[in-house]
């Protein structure tokens, strides 16, 4: 069908111009992102795989210990130590923050837990570089897949059993501690999670974030589903503020006391087992749990138990 002359004239005279594509990130955005990154240092033991791919471990926050940067929560710290051990990388140093070189593309990055698809960190973001120099393929591995992948490296049936127990009992206890321990207050939460990004003037925004965080914590690792008896009145309690929720949860508090008494005996047994075993995964998991509690949650009931653990000294020497 022929285009009418009048229309042809309009479209022919329309000024056609090709604009350049809008960049995904501006220089200021990149600066903010860079400030959240803590690069692993490479060593002679660094694997070629670690050099060719870029690994970003998305974590809640970091804590500094003797110039070393460590993730603030037990799961992220354990996974960070396992990644370092597997790839021959060294933990990030506070003195080398922001420094990038050819071999330093693997890093920790602080994120909001809402950045993860299931609202729980850590997440692993991998950029696999193409051989032909094209754009790297980015993949995102969620928290549960990272934790499950540890099982593949375990061959001994007892090690698998202990690993499973540490993943459930110890991490469940850490979550319960965050929900019910009276010494877990906003300043402590701000050490574990990235809350300092909120300006001090908007403290109400920070309060809202903490409230949302406390609502999300029971959902992590299906805690709320696995212990549904503890959240029997959750619909009613959803309407109550997080502060009231904390003081009202008698079932959770009873469960916390039970978990503490259980872990008091269990930690010594696990420590003895890990000391005798040559399984690196178990060593790193126990180290991650003990350090993250001892460095941040030291005032809590859980922290007091950890202080007495015989493996704590060894855990510090492991890093």
């Amino acid at each position: 069908m022929e285009v009418p002359q009048a229309l042809r004239q309009v479209f022919d005279s329309f000024p056609l111009k090709t604009y350049p594509s809008i960049t995904a990130s501006t220089s200021s955005q990149l600066e903010v992102l860079e400030a959240r990154k803590f690069y692993f240092t490479s060593s002679s033991k660094t694997t070629s795989l670690a050099k060719s791919s870029s690994i970003i471990l998305g974590i809640n926050n970091v804590v500094e210990y003797r110039d070393i940067i460590l993730p603030s929560d037990p799961v992220s710290l354990s996974q960070c130590l396992i990644i370092c051990h597997k790839n021959g990388l060294k933990l990030p140093l506070a003195t080398r923050k922001g420094i990038t070189d050819e071999n330093a593309s693997n890093c920790l990055m602080t994120l909001s837990h809402q950045a993860a698809p299931d609202s729980q960190l850590p997440i692993l973001i991998e950029d696999n570089k193409k051989n032909d120099g094209g754009e790297p393929i980015r993949s995102l591995i969620p928290s549960y897949s990272i934790v499950n992948s540890n099982k593949k490296d375990l061959s001994d049936s007892s090690d698998i059993l202990i690993n499973d127990m540490m993943d459930t009992k110890l991490i469940d206890l850490w979550l319960t501690c965050l929900m019910v321990d009276p010494n877990v207050n906003p300043p402590v939460l701000s050490k574990i999670f990235t809350l300092e990004s909120f300006p001090s003037v908007t403290s109400s925004l920070s309060g809202l974030y903490i409230s949302a965080l406390l609502q999300d914590i029971p959902r992590w690792r299906s805690y709320e589903i696995r212990h549904s008896n503890l959240f029997r009145n959750s619909k009613l309690k959803d309407t109550i503020t997080s502060v009231v929720r904390k003081s009202d949860n008698s079932a959770l508090q009873a469960f916390y006391i039970h978990q503490l008494s259980e872990v008091r005996d269990l930690l010594e047994l696990i420590s003895d087992y890990v000391l005798e075993s040559d399984c690196m995964i178990l060593k790193m998991k126990l180290t991650g749990f003990l350090l993250s509690v001892d460095l941040i949650l030291y005032d809590t009931e859980l922290g007091k138990i950890i202080k007495q653990c015989s493996y704590l000294e060894k855990a510090y020497s492991n890093i």
């Binding site: 007892s158 127990m165 459930t168 079932a251 469960f255 005996d265 269990l266 047994l269």
Partner: protein, 350 residues
């Protein structure tokens, strides 16, 4: 001591195998106690049963009860593998048990749902099974036994599935009129689709069962210093299963060499008593003979024949040991009725 459990009269319910395991454990340790089939979670500090009441102390949950009685008796040293096995069995078998009792439609509609009329008075007998059903739906979805989403065109939100029997008589005022033949065809197709989906999840349930059983038997084997040979392949045909069972009976002594773990050695006040009891309790519940669909029992008899027969023998013995004199009826505030529920709720807010 009083052990509060799920159950009715002189029978502990299969809905919570930890209750059964606790009773067996206390009985095996020669502890003087009474079993109260109270079905009242309000009396428990963690809102869960089993609950052991010793004078003024309340201990809820199987692992806590085990820890409490072993400390009280000072008979054995804590064993890490035993604790780890208890944790593994609870975490991995609980979703399978919930699938078997609540999500497997035959078992839920013809057995589990009916149980609650014995456990609760009117009108609690109606809302409690649904609460358990929704809880089971969420739990089984964590191990991939039920899809969480209901498809792209789901307009009902994330609400739980409603059984088809509840939908058939629903008034359809704004629907286009269809012939009864067409309606029958649609229902038949829908049922077929539902059966296929259920078959898929049932197969997955069996795969998980096999995986966990293999792992547990491997741990038993390594702890007792023995080695376990592979069990025979799963036979699809029922007839072949029966033939196998007959052959097993004939060559019992030969078959028993498949698993070098002698359960009798681990039994009694030995190394793994608590995890043994819990494992047996879950096996009893999963292979419960009164359930309309005994797909797990058939699978276990085929895949883990010698272990299953050995375990079932022990279970029969353990159940016989729980004499009728051990049972006691709940009294006053222990009874789950409307008045006690009101008192409990009022206490929470006052």
């Amino acid at each position: 001591m009083e052990l509060h459990v799920w159950g009715y009269d002189n029978e502990i319910s299969v809905i919570e195998p930890e209750c059964l395991a606790s009773a067996w454990l206390l009985q095996s340790l020669d502890i003087s106690f009474k079993i109260v089939t109270s079905n009242n979670t309000n009396i428990s500090p963690t809102h869960s049963l089993p609950l052991l009441i010793d004078e003024e102390q309340k201990i809820a949950g199987y692992s806590s009860i085990f820890k409490f009685v072993s400390k009280k008796q000072e008979k054995k040293k804590n064993n890490l593998i035993e604790f780890a096995l208890i944790s593994y069995i609870t975490e991995n078998f609980k979703p399978l048990n919930q699938y078997n009792l609540y999500i497997k439609s035959d078992n839920y509609e013809k057995y589990t749902r009916k149980l609650f009329k014995n456990y609760f008075p009117f009108p609690m007998m109606y809302n409690q099974p649904l609460k358990f059903y929704y809880g089971a739906q969420e739990l089984v979805s964590t191990v991939g036994l039920k899809s969480e989403g209901q498809g792209f065109f789901n307009f009902n939100g994330s609400g739980a599935n409603v059984a088809e029997t509840e939908m058939v008589n629903e008034s359809t005022t704004d629907d286009v009129a269809i012939s009864s033949l067409h309606e029958k065809q649609l229902i038949s197709k829908s049922k077929q689709r539902k059966n296929l989906t259920e078959a898929r999840y049932t197969l997955k349930c069996l795969t998980l069962m096999e995986e966990h059983m293999n792992h547990i038997l491997k741990v038993y084997s390594s702890e007792s210093g023995g080695t376990r040979k592979e069990e025979p392949e799963v036979q699809e045909e029922q007839e072949e299963q029966e033939e196998n069972a007959k052959n097993e009976e004939k060559d019992e002594s030969k078959e028993n060499t498949n698993i070098s773990v002698n359960l009798s050695d681990n039994f009694g006040i030995g190394k793994f008593i608590a995890s043994d009891m819990l494992l047996f309790a879950y096996i009893y519940s999963l292979t419960f003979k009164e359930l309309p669909s005994t797909f797990i029992l058939n699978f276990m008899r085929t895949k883990f024949s010698s272990f299953t027969s050995e375990a079932l023998k022990h279970i029969t013995q353990l159940n016989e040991n729980l004499g009728d004199t051990l049972y006691k009826k709940p009294e006053s505030s222990e009874i789950p009725n409307l008045w006690n529920e009101l008192v409990y709720v009022t206490k929470q807010f006052v």
